[in-house]
């Protein structure tokens, strides 16, 4: 009984997830006019496959092995399912018959339905099979794709975004550099900070210091303070400059549920 329930629930979940991911991915190509959903790296990777069906398929396939191993081993599907496998395979199936990306990959309606079908199959198969994928293939996927993807996220993407921020003008360069460095310290990746820096820099360039840009800066500062606190950056900072952590700070961390070492 239980395997049947798992398959049925997975089909429903896969369809819902695939529908949203497909439509969101197609809408990314029309951002910022249209609000998209996905990730900058997903957009970059979809573009890297240049509308070639086989490339989209093999890119998704590479991540399938890693993801499959992860769900068989730990029950976790990995974020690759929604960031890579579903969007790339939905694109591959659509591009198989029509090579024009404007009519396929960039079309939210077609991508939504293709994504739903891909999602149903992928999620159901992955969740229900404690499958035996060839160990050697899984290992290649893990040892080749994972480091390559890690390098893309860090340090390639921070560098690309950083240079883009510096090329876009003095104000974006300064804000991008400051927030990028802080974001890498606090969040472990500079991209979110650089993106916010570009946002503030360009916003002020285009419309000056008005209510919107001031609110934005306040929200960003609040965001950095909060995520710094919740990730224990304050305690780590005190440790690294060899200052004892005051008891009230430890209590405060305990109060919101995080342990201080």
């Amino acid at each position: 009984m239980e395997p049947l329930i798992i398959i049925l629930e997975s089909i429903i979940i896969g369809a819902l997830v695939g529908f949203g991911v497909g439509a969101g991915a197609a809408r990314m190509f029309h951002a910022p006019t249209v609000q998209g959903m996905g990730a900058f790296r997903t957009l970059g990777e979809l573009n890297a496959c240049e509308g070639d069906s086989i490339s989209h398929f093999s890119f998704g396939l590479g991540f399938l092995f890693n993801s499959w191993a992860s769900v068989v081993g730990a029950g976790a599907l990995t974020q690759d399912v929604e960031h890579r496998i579903i969007p790339n395979w939905a694109a591959a199936t659509l591009l198989w018959r029509n090579k024009k990306v404007e009519q396929t990959l960039h079309n939210p309606k077609k991508m939504a339905f293709a994504g739903a079908i891909v999602g149903m199959i992928v999620v159901a198969v992955m969740n229900s099979t404690a499958a035996s994928i060839p160990e050697s293939m899984r290992q290649v996927a893990t040892e080749v794709l994972v480091p390559a993807a890690d390098w893309l996220i860090n340090p390639i993407m921070p560098i690309v975004f950083w240079t883009a921020a510096m090329d876009a003008g003095k104000r974006t360069g300064v804000w991008g550099t400051v927030l990028g460095g802080l974001a890498h310290l606090i969040m472990g990746n500079a991209v979110p900070g650089i993106v916010l820096g570009i946002l503030i820099g360009k916003g002020v360039d285009d419309s000056g210091w008005n209510r919107i840009t001031k609110t934005l800066v306040t929200a960003v500062i609040l965001l950095f303070l909060l995520s710094g606190f919740f990730r224990g950056f304050d305690v780590e900072l005190l440790h690294s400059i060899q200052v004892d952590v005051p008891q009230w700070l430890i209590e405060l961390h305990k109060f919101v549920g995080s342990e201080v070492k």
């Binding site: 809408r27 006019t33 290649v140 969040m187 916003g203 285009d206």
Partner: protein, 214 residues
């Protein structure tokens, strides 16, 4: 606005629908993990945070990590034009919110499949609405796009690095796999196809015959 971006599938109400669908699926995936121990939509390390709470520890880490991601991405999403699924929905809705609910002793949304779908959909719709509201009060009411063009350009440019990175990673994994990836990338380039696909296929084919020694 150009003619190609009109109609329901490009509209703002459709965005709310898409976020609701995706969140319903992700939240129900966490329900499956909670009940059957399979199907959570996240990396092992992040799911482990939730698992630590389920196994009798504190949900604090999962809740704080998930909630701060959700907050950051909801703020960033409308301004750059792309909502990050991984941070906002998979980590925020799939890990952070369930951890908050479980910490508060609320287990029903995670034990019942229909209730999980409904909870996820409601949370997703709320997130979609918040994003559109932020969008309305920032981008639409000013003459600035807040540098989205710069970020889109950088996002597109980053993808070009992937092919060479895969070849380098393959070369570092083992000699046969490296040769396979190099040859695959070269063949794909010669036939005017993106080299990332060729590099992966070449690496996997060679890896099947010459497994990487552990």
């Amino acid at each position: 606005m150009d003619i190609r971006t009109k109609g329901f599938w490009y509209s703002e109400s459709a965005f709310i629908l898409f976020v609701a669908c995706l969140s319903a699926g992700i939240f129900a995936g966490t329900h499956m993990y909670y009940v059957y121990h399979v199907g959570a939509f996240n990396e092992i390390a992040i799911v482990a945070l939730l698992e630590a709470g389920i196994k009798g520890g504190s949900f604090g880490a999962a809740a704080a990590f998930g909630a701060s991601f959700l907050f950051a991405r909801v703020l960033e999403g409308p301004l750059v034009g792309i909502l990050d699924i991984g941070g906002a929905l998979q980590t925020g809705v799939g890990i952070g919110i369930p951890a908050l609910m479980l910490a508060a002793g609320l287990t029903a949304p995670l034990t019942s499949f229909p209730l999980a779908l409904l909870t996820g959909a409601v949370i997703g719709a709320a997130i979609g609405l918040v994003i559109l509201l932020i969008r309305k009060y920032t981008i639409n009411s000013s003459n600035s796009t807040f540098g989205s063009d710069v970020m889109m350009g950088a996002g597109n440019a980053a993808g070009r690095y992937l092919g060479p990175l895969i070849v380098i990673a393959a070369v570092m994994a083992s000699i046969p796999v490296g040769i396979g990836a190099t040859a695959g990338a070269a063949v794909f380039y010669a036939y005017k196809k993106p080299i990332a696909g060729g590099a992966i296929l070449g690496a996997m084919i060679m890896g099947l015959f010459f497994p990487i020694a552990k």
